[in-house]
Subunit: 358 residues, 4 copies
Amino acid sequence: MIDVAILGATGAVGQRFIQLLQAHPWFRVAEVVASERSSGKHYAEAVRWVLDGEIPPTVAELVVLELTDSLASPIVFSALPAQAALEIEARLAAEGHFVFSNASAYRMAPDVPLLLPEVNAEHLRLVGRQQAERGWKGGLVTNSNCTAAPVVMALAPLRHLVPQRLHVVSMQAVSGAGYPGVPSLDILDNVIPYIGGEEEKLAEEPRKMLGTYQDGEILPLEMTISASCNRVPVVDSHLVSIAMNFQNPVGLESVQAAWEHFEAPANVRTLPSAPNPVLVVTDAPDRPQPRRDRLTGGGMATVIGRLRAAAALDGIQFMALTHNTIRGAAGCSILNAELLVSEGYLSGTKAPSAIAVR
Amino acid sequence: MIDVAILGATGAVGQRFIQLLQAHPWFRVAEVVASERSSGKHYAEAVRWVLDGEIPPTVAELVVLELTDSLASPIVFSALPAQAALEIEARLAAEGHFVFSNASAYRMAPDVPLLLPEVNAEHLRLVGRQQAERGWKGGLVTNSNCTAAPVVMALAPLRHLVPQRLHVVSMQAVSGAGYPGVPSLDILDNVIPYIGGEEEKLAEEPRKMLGTYQDGEILPLEMTISASCNRVPVVDSHLVSIAMNFQNPVGLESVQAAWEHFEAPANVRTLPSAPNPVLVVTDAPDRPQPRRDRLTGGGMATVIGRLRAAAALDGIQFMALTHNTIRGAAGCSILNAELLVSEGYLSGTKAPSAIAVR
Amino acid sequence: MIDVAILGATGAVGQRFIQLLQAHPWFRVAEVVASERSSGKHYAEAVRWVLDGEIPPTVAELVVLELTDSLASPIVFSALPAQAALEIEARLAAEGHFVFSNASAYRMAPDVPLLLPEVNAEHLRLVGRQQAERGWKGGLVTNSNCTAAPVVMALAPLRHLVPQRLHVVSMQAVSGAGYPGVPSLDILDNVIPYIGGEEEKLAEEPRKMLGTYQDGEILPLEMTISASCNRVPVVDSHLVSIAMNFQNPVGLESVQAAWEHFEAPANVRTLPSAPNPVLVVTDAPDRPQPRRDRLTGGGMATVIGRLRAAAALDGIQFMALTHNTIRGAAGCSILNAELLVSEGYLSGTKAPSAIAVR
Amino acid sequence: MIDVAILGATGAVGQRFIQLLQAHPWFRVAEVVASERSSGKHYAEAVRWVLDGEIPPTVAELVVLELTDSLASPIVFSALPAQAALEIEARLAAEGHFVFSNASAYRMAPDVPLLLPEVNAEHLRLVGRQQAERGWKGGLVTNSNCTAAPVVMALAPLRHLVPQRLHVVSMQAVSGAGYPGVPSLDILDNVIPYIGGEEEKLAEEPRKMLGTYQDGEILPLEMTISASCNRVPVVDSHLVSIAMNFQNPVGLESVQAAWEHFEAPANVRTLPSAPNPVLVVTDAPDRPQPRRDRLTGGGMATVIGRLRAAAALDGIQFMALTHNTIRGAAGCSILNAELLVSEGYLSGTKAPSAIAVR
């Protein structure tokens, strides 16, 4: 078993890490780290547990560490806010830890992978560049904004059709805002048509994630994205309505076939947290739905439906759904760590820059 | 006071008619009509009242008539389903009643106005064609699908900018499906990304409503519309996210100015149910919101916000909101009837075809 | 017009005061007071408006004062938290202001009225004792916990039947917790069976409110109350299920008749905010309901229904509903102030201790 | 594997049976039975699946049988409405099937067990009486109203303290009303303080379930129960607030200890669907909560919390929660069937009347 630390362990995403790692075959939560207010207490005392069920008993007993403490775990999962992430994640990577971050701080840094293993496993090679150029002994891997996840997942099998323009309208769950997050007075019997910073991230992150690794650089996919982000009274999972077009006209059957044949590369497919299938294409007329489809593939699959024409874009439209705190956050970080371990980065058995990940 | 009848009086829209007409300065609910199951009972017994507050006492006492009964009221508001509307509304119009219908049955008929008085009051002249060609003594006026209303309202002031392509994603309230309508098991903690027939109506109805009356014909506005319709756990009012472009590039300020200067024609502005202003443009970053904005202008105004660029369409995007059972249904029918009365159709003082409504 | 100040003007109850006073025939919001963070700004900048609709324009322009500032308004409405209320409300009352408070700080003080004008208007005389014993030039009047309001309202007409034991289970709206208040992650698709301090207040406050004024003292009603308080996913208004018994067996008809004949004393009935009737007894099998009944009597009435036997208490049970931020908070304070003004306290035309309020 | 049939297989409880039996170690869904409208279709076509996830593939392929068809499965789970249950369940029991019913039709019949295996396993002996007196070759076992389940579970360990009076106020999930069930227009932002027939069942069923089997009779527990039942906007699981007293004063510690030491009889404890522990007593101040606690013990455990005094009853009060469609319906029926099988009723290896179940 490999020891892991959780940064920001008392927050909503931190809790999700702990819940998902409860029975993990490779990783064991050995250290929980939170702000000064919590440090020194037992985790069970420090946390206001907001997920279903109980705190895993082995974690409940851990004493919460401070963010300035040295850590012993080789792998660190970070659920820190962007500001705190900036300094702490870099320090830990420099010291030799492999940090898997949900924060937006480093996502667009040219030498930091924005990793979704089924889609861009080869971007992991950027860790070699981090070690070479920054002198880090470890490395830093980020995962995408939770709303970018379903967009990228749905687009990945369509890259060969040359996507050009994409307009996405999201209906996002309240858990995406953390805890306490969205006040109930704002969202009961209501929709909030604004989520700060989200639309900007959606315009950028998918292009990097769908980009090509070449000589230590990610060449972003050439496409134009605009977004309209909405908060809806749903607990978990983000639903997106995507309208898009391609360089040349594309039939609905080609799209459908591309999704149905999509699978993760062989070195990803067998990872413990990899969903199989990666994409579930439903032919029900009224799916995907957040409550009914969010736990598909243990919350790691993306469910797609309602493929049809979008006249205004001379293209197609469809709905896609992913669980925002599993696939869109903690679960994706764990899968990222699994890939890094399976590729030998941790043991140092391979030079990162030499790894052929696809 | 002018007597009015309500067809489908026990349904959700029928109830909204009765509620809105409670203190109307011109109209008095004199007849309530429903299916056989209800007829012969007092309205209070026959109805399962689902709106806030109590049944207006004067209506509670009325005996419910059958759909086959003759009616005495010159004005008839119809909340019938499309199938029933087809035969009954035509019969009543032929007999001399002026029928204001929420049903989709006749909306796209070439001689039937799809009327939104602030936008296309002159379409009312089609009633003259109905009388001439169909031999009806009365007439039939429809109002739009409840989700088309915010689209048309937001577009009306922009016609001179020559809109070309429009993609709309809706988040619609459960009251749009009537009663019992959407089961709570389907919508609590959920979104349903499908509403039967709605996307097709959105592709057609706005073009007719924004079209030009010319020699007894409506020339539809040339533009391409696509839609993605979603049901959300909200009681009342439909929120739409609209992305669109124009023949030539248009600055955000031109759009903003066009909205702010928009007003209804003079003969509409003074009608009892006309909102003033027609459009409320908010500069709050997170509005319009269904619960907080739906009763703006007594539920008859359209609230618009979040105007910004939409890169994927080389155009603009924004949010618009209208109350679906007031502006999008009963309230709009009442305003339509007010226009017809004020234009002299009822009294026969003017020949309909001669009326200059703008 | 009498100038009034609002303490805690930016919070949820403070906003409700401003909304309700918008068109008040006697009172004009002249001063808005909030914490240091807001002071010096225009109200529209300082507040995050969470109610429906817009900020009343005349208030939007006011500059927010600090809690330590001197106030010019003779009447002060306080939406302060208990801790802040303790010192500030006493200071203002000493200086000559009449303070109407929603805080719990002084509710159980023996010389402070816990006022519900329809029920215990004569408790207002305690203001005379405050002036005599504390040397205050003004006075302090509190209103009850928002969940005590429906209990007291339903009990008031039943005092002659000698109530003995009462068990109340509440289902309370999220607005009772203020803003940001209850996190949506806690309450969507959920019930929280605990509200801090609420059950203790329910065991005490109704006894004082239903008590008898005698020689400057309130003799509390002798009865035993227990409570179980729950938060439910409802925006506004608290619903309570009450089971109770009496000294001697009481028929359901006697209870029903007592409710139906209940009215406020003559000096209360004509106040601008007094609902008429005070109690609305519904015979619908499934009412009162929060969303459908909360605005009865402008949110100032109490709606009662489902009267039936409660075998476990050898007594009766029923449901009662009041709007928690109108009747249970801001609206009740305003009615309290109206009573004080109409009784001549403000003008000093009568010695408070001499006023016969019933 | 033992073949089982599901009656009313397309309804909400029928679906829950199919979902729970998906990976059952003893039972295999071999027959699905529904109304005429569905019969002859494949199950996947006939059903509108309302639960999370997908229809189990092996069941999706089954052809739906009619209610009048002969069945081959020895065990029949019934999710029929009361009226249909009356005739069909008796016929199947007479023919030799063992029927496990969620309907209320036979619950109070003196020779029909109202079975909760952890509490009253010995009531199963009534099946012997059915065979002897009614001449049935099989038998009929019912389970309780879904709101009675948490009441009985919490009371079972307290029988030795001699409960006397119990008042229960429920907050029930919408799934308890089946599908389509509660219209969303009735329950969003609302509570419905009425559920037809529920309060009457709660006054009766717990007394039978907690009663003593003696010579082929169930002697009901002597106690007085009253109830107030409410529907809240929660998807699954019923929360009850219980206030009660005992013949003699009882300390809170005695109650707490009785709950903590409670376990099912040995012959029940090892059944595949038996939760362990049966009762989970939480010391969190604000639990149990429907969303966070409903899946405790796979939805088969009862979660209890907030034990404290209830002055109005000179007794105690607390909250209890069970999953209404698992423990309160399908899951309980399955556990009941497991008990019957493990006791040898099916194989005929023991004479039912001779079985010592505790």
